[in-house]
């Protein structure tokens, strides 16, 4: 069946089957391999995308349910040479080890800061609680999101000047 969705700002029309998960559609049909599969059952957060403004486990969305949706993947944030502040913060805070959870973490951090630009550490922890990381013990990832909040605040205040 045919669905239409917007991925990273670009509208796409795709022929899909219901046994294609949004995860497969993004990775295989659209080549957005920043979306990762860690468990396939919504228990790890590696496949996280922002769907219609909310964090979503793309492994649990049958492709037809993504009809008319707006999807943001990690590829929609920044590029190597022009990182989004949250990505930059992950690099600077030393939050990246194997990196497999990182696209999902970055999106969870972004989603949190979109809603709550000045989160407490506790709020950051809860915001990331759907994303498992096995390498870092989370400390530097929490740092990274706090750092990004500060960066975005500085950016915001600069643009107000």
């Amino acid at each position: 069946m045919q669905i239409t969705l917007t991925v990273n700002g670009e509208q796409r029309e795709l022929e899909v089957t219901p046994y294609t998960r949004l995860l497969d559609l993004l990775r295989e049909d659209l080549g957005l391999t920043g979306v990762k599969e860690g468990c396939g059952k919504g228990e790890c957060g590696a496949c996280t995308v922002i769907m219609n403004g909310e964090l979503t486990a793309s492994c649990l969305v049958p492709a037809p349910q993504a009809d008319q949706a707006e999807i943001i993947t990690v590829e929609g944030l920044g590029t190597r040479d022009n990182l989004h502040p949250i990505q930059e913060s992950f690099v600077e805070a030393g939050a990246v080890q194997c990196g497999y959870c990182i696209p999902g973490m970055v999106l969870a951090g972004k989603r949190l800061l979109d809603e709550n630009p000045k989160p407490t550490e506790k709020e950051v922890r809860y915001g990331l609680s759907g994303n498992i990381c096995r390498c870092t013990g989370y400390a530097k990832i929490i740092d990274a999101v706090m750092l990004a909040a500060d960066k975005l605040a500085v950016e915001g205040s600069d643009s107000n000047d």
Partner: protein, 304 residues
Amino acid sequence: MMRKSPMKQESRQTISGVDFKEYFQPESIQKALEIRAEYGDQIEVAAGSTDLLVANYEKLHEIKYWLDLVKLDQLKKIEVIDNELHIGAMVTHLQLMKSDLIKKNLAVLAAAAEDVGSPQIRSRGTIGGNICTSSPAGDLLAPLLSYGASFKLQSTEGERIVKAEEFFTGPKRNSMETDELLTEIIIPLTDNKREGSWIKVGRRKALVISTLTLAVVLEFEGEKIVKAGIAMGSVAPTPVRLKGIEAVMVDQKLTDLDYKALGREVKASINPIDDLRGTKEYREDVAVDVMVRALKEIERKVSS
């Protein structure tokens, strides 16, 4: 040694790797009910899909017929009608935890919604899905029981209202017929003061299936308890409402009650099992203490 030798085609390949036949995404309830009536238990009903895709991991291609309710916007509303709160079956956990109506009137349900899985699950998973999956560990189920919720089941033949405590019949089993769909959850409101407590016990603090849940909802006239709703999850084959204990509490002053004795009553009323999430003994012992904790919490709320 390993020469190229694709399999000999001695037999014609006749079995399809995929069993999929049809996907329905109706935009009206009527249409959905007609499809449901036609396919019955042949069709998988998809709401938020967070349970469906887990249950069918690696074999999604074996599902023949899909009935996707995602376009039924009528089922995504939360509204008050005649002193009853009507929650559409497609309302997500995220909507529940953010809704002012829910937070104000059904704080225990809102708190439970906030404890479901993870942000990624709460944004898609629905109250209707949680109910229809009918897992004894479903986080919303104890609160729904304790609020005295009823479920509206519709079919092409009509509709019926089933009380929550009559709906659940076993682990992942319920009294819904194969031609029915759950469309609405109805919860009575009250002008009385209502205070409650929600306790979820799990082996970690987030992203976990409950080892035990407790929802206590008490309605007061003055200091007297006029209505009590006490329900638990993961302590029996279904989520359970502890009516015996409710009866003991009604018409009493909260502070006159022996919390510990009530806790022991709770322990005596449940029938948990040993599983990966905790032992039977653990659940029984914790039930006593969390009951006490819940009542103390309500006492604090009432007095403040």
